[in-house]
């Protein structure tokens, strides 16, 4: 059994369990929904496909499950190309968006279904169903119809059903989308725990970035039919590779401008709204290029004592101060941008900014990323 944290990523990647090789998909022969996708998933990984709707992430999942055929390219599962293997022979478990529990069967019958089609004996079925129900703490609900269960309970049954035949790969298509916030957070933890315990490989589709960051080993951010960035959650958040990822993951302040010069790995950017700043040149290469600069709200500093010596600072006007309990959220006008957000921790010595005040703000040049315009 492979446990999370114990496997060697490089080694696992070398013998990828699931692999997309230059996969393309078009529904109408005119527009590519998935554009030249290559992706390797090692055994035991929890990979999330994250992206806005229409970005191609669900299509990828459906191709892997076998409900859509790739227009071009190969999908490899455990060393075998599965392009021409029928869905029911792929041995992949799947959890659907609205659970897809069969409404005319009881919970126990739903769970017995995959065993029944595999011709397990009645007694074997009963033991396995009982064990599965206990795994998701639903022991006494076997005789109920899905409609008599709450959303969270249905979710557990759907999960148990997908895992019942011990698939090596489990696909989840926005499985928590219909649950309320509290239950969703609880189930995120539960799914993660079960996946780790069983050592299964999970491909998880969601448009909820918090969910993606909390649960995944790696996240593939989809947009416009391409993977924009494939990285572990911390890397994705702290070092977005382009402005789409920076915008899509977490809250983000953007300022637009032109690169004046790049020296010693630091780009000097002339902002359109006035002001000069030092940035980390992520995907700008030469002076004169247009760029969109991205800074996380919690990395903005306005305590002058903490400014880097010699670093450029900007003047800002406080527009709004919002008390949010654990944090303070302050809206500033910076270089013509009225939506520049600063988040500060609610600590005893924290300064509460007053609307109308003029302040200086600054940040570490490494936190300020000059991305594509």
């Amino acid at each position: 059994m492979v446990k999370y944290g114990e496997y060697d990523l490089a080694e696992a990647q070398a013998k990828a369990f699931v692999e997309f090789q230059r996969v393309q998909k078009s529904y109408d022969g005119e527009v590519l929904v998935v554009k030249d996708l290559s992706l390797a998933i090692p055994r035991g990984e929890f990979l999330t496909l994250l992206g806005p709707s229409g970005s191609g992430k669900t299509t990828c999942l459906m191709m892997l499950a076998g409900f859509e055929t790739a227009t071009h390219g190969d999908i490899i599962l455990d060393g075998v190309s599965i392009n021409n293997i029928a869905p029911h022979k792929r041995g992949i478990g799947m959890v659907f968006q609205n659970y897809a529990l069969f409404p005319h069967m009881t919970v126990a019958e739903n769970l017995a279904f995959p065993l029944e089609v595999r011709k397990f004996s009645k007694s074997e079925r009963d033991t396995k169903v009982k064990r599965a129900l206990e795994m998701v703490q639903m022991g006494q609900f076997g005789g109920r119809r899905p409609a008599q269960l709450s959303g969270g309970q249905q979710q557990r049954v759907a999960l148990a059903r997908a895992l019942l035949t011990n698939p090596k790969l489990v696909l989840m298509d926005e499985p928590l989308g219909a649950l309320d916030k509290q239950l969703r957070e609880h189930m995120q933890f539960e799914i993660k725990r079960i996946a780790n315990n069983l050592g299964i490989t999970v491909v998880y589709v969601t448009h909820d970035q918090t969910e993606a960051l909390t649960m995944s080993d790696r996240v593939a951010v989809f947009d416009d039919g391409r993977i924009q960035q494939l990285a572990p959650p911390d890397e994705l958040y702290e070092s977005p590779k382009n402005s789409f990822v920076a915008q899509f993951i977490g809250e983000n302040n953007t300022l637009e401008g032109i690169v004046k010069e790049i020296t010693n790995g630091v780009a000097l950017v002339q902002l359109d709204g006035g002001g000069l700043i030092d940035c980390n040149p992520v995907n700008v290469s030469k002076a004169g290029e247009r760029t969109r600069v991205s800074i996380r709200p919690e990395r903005v500093e306005f305590n002058k004592e903490r400014f880097q010596p010699g670093a450029h600072t900007l003047t800002a006007e406080v527009l709004e101060f919002i008390y949010m309990g654990d944090i303070f959220r302050t809206r500033l006008r910076v270089a013509g941008n009225d939506n520049f957000i600063v988040k500060t921790r609610n600590a005893p010595d924290q300064v509460r900014l007053v609307p109308g005040a003029k302040i200086d703000i600054g940040w570490l040049p490494s936190d300020c990323r000059a991305l594509d315009a």
Partner: protein
Amino acid sequence: MSYTDEHRPMMTVDGTPLKKSLAIALRRQKIRALLLISPLLIFVLFTLALIFASMLFRSVENDIVSEILPETVVALSSWDAQSGELPDETVYSAFAGDIQRAAKAKDHTRVGLRLNYEKSGMASLFKKTARKAKKWDLEADAPFKNKLIETHKGWADIAVWQTLKTHSSLYTSGYFLNSIDMRKTVSGPEYQPEDRQILVTLFKRTLIISLVITMSCILLAYPVAWLLANLPMRQANLLMILVLLPFWTSLLVRTSAWKVMLQQQGVINDLLVALGMIEETGRLALINNQLGTVIAMTHILLPFMILPMYSVMQSISPTYLRAAKSLGATNWTAFWRIYFPQSVPGIGAGSILVFILSIGYYITPEIVGGNKGVFISNRIAYHIFQSMNWGLAAALGTILLVAVLILYWAYDKIVGIDNVKLGG
């Protein structure tokens, strides 16, 4: 504050029972709902309900004999119909008086026609007797026993008097007995002579052919409904128009078209002969028989099966099939174990619609059914328009209504009526 106490009902703040205030609060809503449906309610009450009531009444009503021949009926009550002897003079003289009054009021044909349903020859017997009875002097011409027998020898036939006595009650079970090929006699109900037994056969045929039509509709409609529910919108809309197309043409036109298609010199036979599949001499009899009725009615009733099936199938998410396949089910297993059970409510709704429509169908069997393919409703029409035996027609209609209700009840017991869906 309202409070709960085990022994007391819930109260509102000012102490009125909660149920009462709720009823007051909801009264306006209820009145508004009632007003909204009142036009339909009144319409149904005064048309459908009245028609049903009058049909039920007509099927047992029998006041003609006692209304037109009141004294005869009284006199006959003391006559023992099974004695094997003719009634005595009191009955004959009472009858002479009755028939004279009836002849003058021109009522004698009504009673003659009524009794003719039960025994042929009665209508002419009454007509002839009445013609002569008009000239009789009830005082001077007595006694009437021999005079009546002289007028028509029918009056010496015990069976005539037995018929009169048997059907003189105000209400009768006679029409219902007739409906199931039996008749009322002085010695109780007995079967009609074999050459008059036709209605039970017709009932059976109506039920069996309706079942066959329902089954063939299910078989033909299921794939179409599935396509409708699963094709992309544009194609589905086109297909839907094709399904509804028959509704745009008159029923009579469509049925007549089938006559052209199916007859021995018709399109289908010509085609089969041209293709060499059948001999010129062996042209198939596709019409004026039960096959013709089944073919034409299946076509005509098909939309009533497709539409409820479609609306149910449309509400079945394709995810269920995908889920079943991801759990290892083959296409067939996924369909049969997962999709089909969920589509049963549509089949049920369609079947009830088609079966109930077909059991009472009239025009199509009349045109393409010939002798062997007509339904009970064609017989009902015959009794209404030709033999004028409305009592029997009403009894047949009532039996048909009860049969449908029983089937509906049975369906409810077996499948459950909440399993019938006309929409998602």
